[in-house]
């Protein structure tokens, strides 16, 4: 209910604003033409009326035009071949308007100029009218935005006849014949050839030429043209993520960027993502996450960003690209740029809304009678007596998944208003989304508000700001462990009813009654609220030509507040609570970062140089408090207003702490290119951090990259199909400090080691570990080699990269002998990991004469990960413990093996009869029907020495493909993602193939029962004397998959149907629609567990306990542009 109200409020707000905007338009309707003309006339004034000094002595026209551009900032657009032939221009004018200068310059040429408002176009004077009776007219629009396009060149193929569109994108052209073909061209857009075919009205929409290499990528503290990038950077534009029902940034990148592995951590609404750029170089969690930089702010959390507000995402992958972020770029940098208004575009009003449903993936469990039969069999085989007499009596029973799941819902509405004039641009946006998870009670909602603006105060002073507020609220469900909700509750015994005929709760043998739990939770009022204010303000000075000074202050101020109320309840004698209780906790963080940079850019003949230097300072501080108490007033379960700590009468408890760190960094970068052919970038960064002791605070991180644009060399210049061919290479060293606690260098005691003496509480404390004052920066050294190719009229582009990345001085807690009594071993610089890989991405896009446009981008990457060294005599670091399975650890990081490789016995089929058991190495407890394990060391017995690496959770290849098709007003977009060659430890086999407390997976019906049976599921035995369920290769499954991640069909209503609407598009989307995989579990897309103090996350990969799988969603949406 609350949701609807907020939604209505938001809509009201939008509607109010839009009506106001519209009424303005309506009021001016009569003078529309006039005012539009005036508007543009003003703009023309601005460009054409600018004063300029110009002097040229026998110079090329091109050079003179360039001077005008440089001096006035005017955008002159022309084809080189048109102006190239004028190379002896003489002019000497002082303080003249551009208009006058152009008139002078073009007087004796066959060129003319035309101002569109945005550009001044230099073009050929129209040929004298031929005797032609036919006139073709129409409007040219941008295919994506629906905006009309002024200044588009239109010519009749094979003639000199041509024109340009006017300020409103309209054209009218006399043509020799209606059988001719028109050519539409515009800078930055694909040239379009349209046969007239007898028509007199031809509206066309043009596609931006995404593969031209002209687009800009955002690099650290600046930007660069994509074609000039010599390191490794992948970019995703707003167009590519538009309208995907993506809550989180990472989701929009899935399958779109080579070398980046992205998996959703769970189906919990609002779930975070695991993002690994070029493998992982550490066993520490935090140090495997990339750095997210939003509009230059390096402290933003991706979960607080609305995807609808993103303009572009650039993923900096190689060390030479991330090095400018030094210590923070070790795992790649995701640069996010949010949208801003465009000058002279008029007010743009956009609304996008979608609404959809979600479907859970269900586990095929057996019904009650089969459960009873199988459980009895397991008991009997274990020497116990059967528990369920006459299994048939239980019939189908209860499928607890019916209780757990519901159709989920996903809704989103986002609106934006943007615009600006020459001096100022603005973008104001809001987004509200809500997801009701497929598991009851799980939900997530988030509100994002953003105001971005940019102002040119004077010609040498600019200021800007980006401010975003987000507030989310979530209720999740634990996942990723054998005791999690999933492994446990959905597999409750089907023999128990939800409710007994007398209305009392059905009693389950091993678990709480799920329905009772949900009814209780509905009344519990739990959840986490997260309000975050983040943004930046910047000031930019251009005191001298080519010199820019910039100061940007970034801040993030947020809180994460959890509350939990548990009422008194009685479900059964074992499932009850006699004391109502309430707990509150809050983390709040206050982080700031101040970046000051100086940038100098100049061209000396064929030498182009840009130098950047800067200083950044950053401070992070987080505080935490919590309080809890119990015994609330008796009716607090009905009245929310009673659920306050102060209402509780006993058991008050409080906790709190704080932690912070600061960084000070110096950075420098030189970009150099000679004649656009030989390019070089050199970075140097010095990072200082308070996380290290005073001895080793600073780390020094150099990097460079070189590029050779072979296509500019004379021997390739004439090869037509090559537009751009560049060989790139680089090396860089970057630091990492993320694994460290803030005070890892210092030794401290842990409190809370208390004891009661005869009921008297006495506090205790002791040091659990010790600090290491000699810690220094972890270092990552990476070599990158790449090749970029664009060709065939800019329709194809190919990027190929090879990298070799070595992590040295890995910061980690290296286990030390336990007899030291040290609980937390100190952090140490130790260990070495090597990641090697190859990345290929290929793009192709094309418009065919029949208005059919399509583009396909595909990428594939290959990465290998290997631990090459560990300290302290450690030959393996232990990862995930598997207490339930009864083995020590499922994953290990062993020298010579990948991080988190699976470890265990090698299963070798099933003993079919006693003589097979007898002839095998001694395997205590084994009987026919049990798993046979390999005696790897041939000592005649199966012992721990026979354990070995049994699987690799990392894929050999991961790949993605996006394809966009549009035909007339229809568009179809699809995204595929997948991986190949990774193993999954299907731990759910333990749970659902005989782990005692759980219902059976239907595959368990095929368990071994008699000699000669072909099956890979051993006999059921409640006591498991053979240890069938120990960690072994029996659990290992191939995790390869190919998924149709996103499929969208859209229809844009023709422009002339609705007045005053720039764009109206409706679309339907399905995500997670189809998965091709041999994996027998719920879902091969496994992220990692998101929070646990005891498990090291990177070591928790590829283990599937049967988790909250990512649901499929089906949405319908609408885009409106006014």
């Amino acid at each position: 209910m609350k949701y609807y109200r907020s939604l209505i409020f938001l809509f009201g707000l939008i509607l109010g604003i839009s009506l106001q905007a519209n009424s303005q338009v309506l009021a001016d309707q009569m003078q529309k033409e006039v005012s539009a003309f005036k508007l543009h006339a003003n703009i023309q004034l601005l460009d054409l009326q600018k004063k300029v000094d110009i002097k040229a002595n026998n110079e090329t026209l091109k050079h003179v035009l360039e001077q005008i551009e440089q001096k006035t900032g005017a955008d002159l657009v022309y084809r080189n071949e048109l102006v190239d032939k004028y190379n002896n221009v003489n002019i000497n004018e002082k303080n003249q308007t551009v208009k006058d200068v152009l008139n002078l310059l073009l007087k004796d040429t066959n060129l003319m100029y035309l101002s569109t408002g945005s550009y001044i176009i230099i073009r050929e004077k129209p040929a004298p009218m031929t005797e032609s009776a036919e006139t073709v007219s129409g409007t040219v629009t941008d295919s994506k935005t629906g905006n009309t396009m002024p200044g588009v060149n239109i010519s009749v193929l094979g003639t000199t006849t041509g024109t340009s569109t006017d300020a409103n994108g309209n054209y009218s052209l006399s043509v020799p014949s209606l059988q001719d073909t028109l050519s539409f061209s515009f800078v930055g857009y694909q040239t379009l050839q349209v046969p007239i075919s007898g028509r007199t009205k031809i509206n066309v929409s043009m596609n931006a030429a995404a593969i031209s290499g002209e687009e800009v990528v955002v690099v650290g503290y600046g930007q660069q043209q994509h074609r000039d990038v010599t390191s490794s950077i992948s970019s995703v534009s707003a167009d590519e993520i538009a309208n995907e029902p993506a809550e989180q940034v990472a989701q929009t990148l899935q399958g779109k960027v080579s070398g980046v592995e992205i998996m959703q951590n769970s189906g919990n609404p609002g779930s975070s993502f695991m993002v690994r750029i070029r493998g992982i170089g550490s066993v520490n969690d935090k140090s495997t996450q990339p750095l997210y930089v939003v509009d230059g702010n390096p402290m933003a959390d991706p979960s607080d960003i609305a995807t609808s507000q993103i303009k572009s995402i650039d993923v900096l992958k190689s060390a030479s690209a991330t090095a400018i972020y030094g210590a923070r770029g070790a795992n790649g940098v995701v640069m996010i740029t949010t949208k801003n208004g465009k000058a002279r575009e008029g007010v743009q009003f956009n609304v996008n809304a979608y609404n959809g449903v979600e479907h859970a993936r269900r586990v095929p469990f057996v019904d009650a009678q089969n459960y009873a039969m199988l459980y009895n069999e397991a008991l009997t085989n274990g020497g116990d007596s059967p528990k369920y007499p006459n299994p048939q009596q239980y019939g189908k029973g209860t499928d607890w998944q019916d209780v757990a799941y519901r159709p989920g819902q996903k809704r989103n509405v986002n609106v934006s208003i943007s615009g600006g004039n020459d001096a100022s641009t603005y973008y104001v946006a809001g987004e509200f989304q809500k997801e009701l998870g497929v598991v009851r009670t799980t939900n997530y909602d988030r509100l994002n508000l953003r105001v971005n603006s940019h102002h040119e105060i004077t010609d040498y002073l600019q200021i800007g700001e980006n401010i975003s507020f987000s507030r989310s609220h979530s209720i999740g469900m634990s996942t990723y462990s054998e005791t999690s909700f999933f492994a446990r509750q959905i597999a409750s015994a089907p023999t128990a009813p939800v409710k007994n005929p007398d209305g009392s709760w059905g009693q389950l043998p091993h678990h709480a009654n799920l329905e009772a739990m949900f009814e209780r939770r509905a009344n519990e009022d739990n959840g986490t609220e997260r309000p975050v204010l983040t943004g930046s303000g910047d000031i930019e000075l251009t005191p001298l030509k080519n010199l820019t000074l910039k100061s940007q202050y970034n801040f993030t101020y947020g809180r994460s507040m959890s509350r939990n109320f548990t009422p008194e309840y009685f479900i059964s004698t074992t499932d009850r609570n006699e004391l109502s209780s309430i707990s509150r906790s809050e983390s709040n963080w206050n982080n700031w970062d101040w970046d000051n940079t100086v940038d100098y850019k100049n061209t000396f003949g064929k030498h182009n140089i840009e130098v950047l230097a800067g200083i950044t300072a950053q401070k992070n501080f987080t505080q935490y408090w919590s309080a809890s108490a119990n015994t609330l007033p008796g009716n607090s379960s009905q009245f929310k207003g009673l659920r306050y700590l102060g209402m509780a009468e006993s058991g008050q408890s409080v906790d709190g702490n704080g932690t912070g760190y600061s960084m000070l960094s110096y950075l420098g970068r030189i970009n150099y290119n000679y004649n656009d052919t030989y390019l070089a970038t050199i970075n140097y960064r010095i990072d200082g951090s308070s996380k290290f002791g005073p001895n080793n605070r600073y780390g020094y991180f150099p990097s460079f990259s070189l590029g050779w644009r072979i296509s500019n060399e004379s021997f390739l210049k004439d090869v037509d199909f090559i537009n751009n061919l560049m060989l790139r290479g680089g090396w860089g060293k970057i630091g990492n400090q993320e694994p460290l606690n803030n005070y890892a260098y210092a030794s401290s005691v842990t409190r809370g080691m208390n004891y009661y003496f005869n009921g008297n509480w006495v506090p205790g404390q002791a040091p659990q570990g010790s600090g290491n004052p000699n810690l220094k920066w972890e270092a990552i050294q990476e070599t990158n080699l790449g090749l970029s190719f664009t060709g065939f009229d800019n329709t194809i582009n190919v990027d190929l990269d090879y990298y070799h990345k070595t992590t040295t001085d890995m910061l980690m807690r290296v286990p030390i002998v336990a007899y030291s009594g040290i609980v937390n071993p100190p952090f140490k610089n130790s260990g070495e990991v090597v990641n090697k890989g190859l990345e290929l991405s290929v793009g192709y896009q094309r418009t065919t004469p029949g208005d059919f446009y399509y583009s396909i981008d595909a990428n594939v990457s290959h990465n290998t990960n290997k631990v090459t060294q560990l300290a302290n005599n450690v030959d393996a670091l232990y990862g995930v413990e598997a207490g339930f399975i009864g083995s020590g650890y499922l994953t290990q990081a062993q020298v010579g093996q990948p991080i988190a490789a699976f470890y265990g016995y090698v299963a070798d089929g099933i003993f079919q009869n006693q003589s097979e058991v007898n002839n095998h190495a001694a395997q205590p407890g084994a009987a026919p029907g049990d798993l046979r394990f390999k005696d790897l060391n041939n000592d005649g017995q199966i012992t721990a020495d026979d354990e070995t690496m049994i699987g690799n959770p990392w894929p050999d290849y991961s790949f993605g493909l996006t394809a966009n098709f549009s035909y007339k007003n229809f568009d179809l977009n699809l995204g595929l993602t997948g991986q190949y060659g990774n193993d999954i430890f299907a731990a759910w086999k333990w749970t659902w193939y005989g782990g005692n407390w759980f219902n059976y997976h239907k595959n368990a019906l095929n368990r071994w029962t008699h000699e000669g049976q072909k099956t890979d599921i051993p006999r059921l035995n409640i006591n498991d004397p053979n240890g069938n369920l120990r960690a072994s290769s029996w659990y290992i499954e191939d995790g390869s998959y190919l998924r149709l991640n996103n499929l969208q069909l859209g229809y844009t209503l023709p422009n002339n149907i609705i007045q005053n609407v720039r764009k109206l598009r409706i679309y339907v989307t399905a995500t997670n629609l189809l998965t091709i995989t041999g994996y027998p579990g719920q879902d091969p897309e496994l992220g990692t567990q998101t929070s646990s103090s005891t498990q090291q996350q990177p070591m928790y990969i590829g283990i599937d306990w049967g988790h909250y799988a990512v649901p499929s969603t089906y949405t319908i949406g609408i885009n409106i542009g006014l």
Partner: protein, 501 residues
Amino acid sequence: MKKLTLITLIALIAIGVGGCNGFLNEEPQAQIATSNAYQTADDASRAVTSAYYRLQANNWCCDAVDRNGYMYWVIDNVGTDDAIKGGESGGDQVYAQKVAYYTLTPTNRTAEEAWNNLYIDIRYANIVLDKLPDIEMDSDLKKRYMAEAKFLRGYDYFLLVQTFGDVPLVKTTDVEAYDKKRAPASDVLKQAISDFKDAASVLPTKSQYSSEDIGRASKGAAQAYLGKLYMWMGDFTNAEDWLGRVIDSKEYSLATDYGMIFTKAGENGPGSIFEIQYNYNPPKTQQNPMGVVQGSRSMYGWGFNAPTQDFVDEFESGDPRLKQSVYENGDTLRDGRVADVGNSPSGYLNYKEYVGTSEAPGGFFNSANNEIMMRFAKVLLWYAEAANENGHTQKALDALNRVRKRARQGNSNVLPDVTVTDKTKLRKAIWHEERVEYGNEYDRRFDLLRTGRMGDVMRGYAQKYNTPKGANFKDGKNEVLPIPAAEISLSDGKLTQNPGY
């Protein structure tokens, strides 16, 4: 104007840089530096408490490293003929089943947690011994604190030897490089003896402690453990001496009601010598999971540690202690509930760990009854055993019959006084009495091992009940647990594995 702006900006940057002096010096927040943590008497108290804190670490299963405990119920009960592992089924807590079946390997959690817990506690005791000498405080209290730490260290090393045999001997916290080898068990025991003796000479008696200090190591506790240690070594002369001192101190007596000993109300009673203390007092509750672990799956628990038929059969007919040690279906329990033992594989559950409704005001998961590690009856019986071995038959009979008299609980028709004087027969009678008096109280393994009976008893049990439990017990191997595999690897091979693992 332009220049002015420029100067302003440059000035701003300069301030930014200039203001950075000391920018990176962050004072650690919400932490007490180790260097400041040992200054006052209160600090000393906190240091000692941390060593006690380890006792009530999670002794049931596998928790985070800093919470792990010594799984007494697995090693000392389930690993013997006194109890079957229980739980949902054989696969439930498989590491414990492997201990019960003697199929455990060096990665077994039981061994790992025992090892880790005891050495963490040794470190905390060592910190007390290293740091307290420099703290200015009341010297008597300081001496007592250090004696308490010595008692705890002795307790840990004694348990380590019982569990693993030869183990590394760490006596201070100054050890920078941990490159020790396993010290012979005799050296480790020598250290434990010295620690216990130092403790016994300094610590107050139980009655000298004020009420709020009950639960701390006392003179009597140190003497009792010294006696126990000599029993382990087969040094009956010293055993008789030290256990005799406990008896002669008159500090302890046998509580009249045997059943009461194991209830909340019976905590720290007259016979109590050393108990692991728990208390329910939210939010500072220190709960003892044993109540739930050993409780019935059909009533409130998980049904582990099911007493065996063999244990039940050991009781003489009419012994009132039987129904105070185990319960079965239909028994009316002390809080009036009618017992349902759920799926107990033996049909019995351990009454000594039963928590009555009124004893768990915060629910059974928060039950907090103490765990009695040393009580007077154990001292009397071991004394009797030592006296018999030393030829002091009458003393042996007196001590033994003192226990039987209490056990009789006024019913003169049962449990007649033992009168046999033949050394061997009397030994058997005492062994029998030991088993029934403190069955499932974590000393069955100790008794079987020190008297050399373990292998025969366990294999005999397997044969008699046709079960894998005990069948795999190998003499010369299974007397000790394996050294944790990770530990051997971390020591770069300096630590060797126990034979057979």
